[in-house]
Symmetry: C2
Subunit: 349 residues, 2 copies
């Protein structure tokens, strides 16, 4: 007879206590052959991949800043906490190998939240071949913070830096733009008005961002990209950082931006309905953020290698959106008309 | 003419903005030859040391839980944030190589705090040969959290695990016990009563814990230890974890515990004065926490190698405090009388 699903565990981390909580988490973590010492010791020990360098990144999700549990599930939060870090590794051309999980939890955090959050992070870890090799749990007097450190491997001469873009290179982006911001706006709108028109694909893209691990690795391996960055704070921000690091400028053609029909339609409807926070599709694509696509540049001589990458990637589109220029300006072509690139996103502002 | 010291920067991180804050922090970070890509890209890239495994650990300091800025300076907090992680590396026998710094800051955090905190962490990093190779800054709606990830290197066959203690091994501890808890209590008391008797050495030991990096590395290199753990939550907690991981018991002789005279005197005076929270020296040593010494076991056959380690360590004492037993009990000998080891520390409790 099938077992009925277990009732959610409504105890809090305070009820359970630190040691039992750590044991509960540790019991769920799997392992990988390269993890010599996993959770439960003073630190994790991992055998490096031969002939590679370690790639290290850390990114924190803060409750009320990076996620809102009224709009996403604990599983979504777990997925996102790892995905944003894997996205950083992908942007360096690295394949992910392991992660550390640092949880700062208010005493009122339920065991159900911890369990579901872990399900989200471990499902993504399994599908990406990542071992959660260790971490730390501590109490918070207020804010819930989830800090993930991800470690990957890349051949030292295949690192994708931000600084390699050269005048004449083409500018490319993976996937589609504006989905993250549209998804978040759609989720918010649907909470205010249950009958509101929704953007379902964009919502999933917001709730479960996919790191472009394979694209990053192939671009690195095939020497197809001259510079690369991941888009977390919007295309405009990514272009600015890439241009600054490379000491170059960029001209982007708005007409080339890969924006899905759902996003264009949704933006148009919001604007028609006179919503006070309505943004056009171009603004969503440029400044929306939360897209986690790769923005990269490639020399025209690398076009053949890039076609090879595209073939191996299959469905994930790579779109040329503009060109690197010698003068340092960032320009946006709208219907052939060049204007300065609009602003960016800042924390603390 | 000597420059007058710069006035503290009373602007907040909100005044400065995220990008300028990250640039200010990045400008202070040095580098090391093994850091291929440092701060300012999507992730850090670090060349592994030949023939070693990576050792990875993360530990968060939470304002109001792990530190109190009325009792310690921002420099102390920075020092501690790195030291507690280096202590975990030392417990594995690893030498530290780099660290990532994840800052979760309320908008009201002053630039002065950030500057002084960084001074503390970077001074320790420099003296330990550690590169702060990357990190992340984000906003907090409430709690200030500092999460450090430290990466070290150890020969894969020289890893000091918690699980290697065998019946008949001797139990050792580096340094002195009870200093951390005494230092914290002394700092608290002095805030209530400016004329209170203080424990000055213990206060420094609390404010600036030293990771036993060299001791851990030498114990690993010389194959002198069978198991090792660092003491962050007290000797009792460390013994319990080591015994559990090794499937063994331990008998500790209270008379052998290395407790400095200042701690014994201070504890006796508190007790005489009838302070409600007074603890005896034994309780401070067993359950005080914040000592960051190494607790390790060694086979009697390794005594020669251990003497070699002691010679190389110079001033840092290594003290035999008991023995590993076959039956799994944890016992404390007080004046020849065996009793069960008293309890431990739990977060969330």
């Amino acid at each position: 007879m099938p077992q009925p699903p277990a009732a959610p565990d409504t105890r809090t981390v305070l009820d359970l206590g630190e040691r039992a909580l750590v044991e509960r988490i540790t019991a769920k973590l799997g392992s990988r052959p390269w993890v010599l010492v996993g959770p439960g010791d003073d630190a994790a020990v991992v055998t490096p991949e031969p002939r590679t360098a370690d790639v290290l990144t850390t990114d924190a999700l803060v409750d009320g800043v990076h996620f809102d549990l009224r709009l996403m599930s604990p599983e979504d939060v777990g997925h996102r906490a790892l995905a944003v870090n894997l996205s950083d590794l992908a942007a360096m051309g690295a394949r992910p190998r392991c992660a550390l999980l640092s949880l700062v939890l208010p005493s009122s955090t339920t065991i159900e939240f911890v369990d579901r959050f872990l399900d989200g992070i471990l499902r993504l870890a399994a599908s990406e071949g990542v071992a959660v090799a260790g971490g730390n749990v501590t109490r918070s007097p207020g804010t819930l913070v989830i800090d993930v450190t991800a470690v990957g491997a890349v051949h030292p001469r295949r690192v994708l830096r931000r600084s390699g873009a050269r005048a004449g290179d083409d500018v490319y982006v993976t996937g589609t733009l504006g989905d993250g911001a549209t998804g978040l706006a759609s989720l918010r709108r649907s909470r205010e008005d249950a009958g509101a028109r929704r953007a379902p694909v964009a919502e999933v893209r917001y709730r479960r961002p996919e790191a472009r691990t394979r694209a990053g690795h192939l671009l690195s391996r095939n020497k197809a990209a001259s510079a690369c960055i991941d888009l977390s704070d919007g295309l405009g921000d990514g272009l600015r950082r890439l241009a600054e690091a490379s000491g170059a400028g960029m001209t982007i053609d708005a007409g080339l931006l890969p924006v899905r029909e759902e996003v264009r339609t949704w933006a148009a409807l919001q604007s028609q309905s006179g919503a006070s926070d309505a943004r056009g599709w171009l603004e969503l694509a440029l400044d929306g953020g939360d897209d986690y696509e790769l923005l990269f540049t490639a020399s025209p001589r690398a076009r053949g290698r890039l076609r090879g990458v595209q073939r191996l990637l299959g469905d994930l589109p790579i779109t040329r959106i503009g060109q690197v220029t010698k003068d340092r300006g960032l320009r946006l072509l709208v219907d052939g008309d060049a204007r300065p690139m609009p602003g960016g996103f800042e924390h603390f502002r």
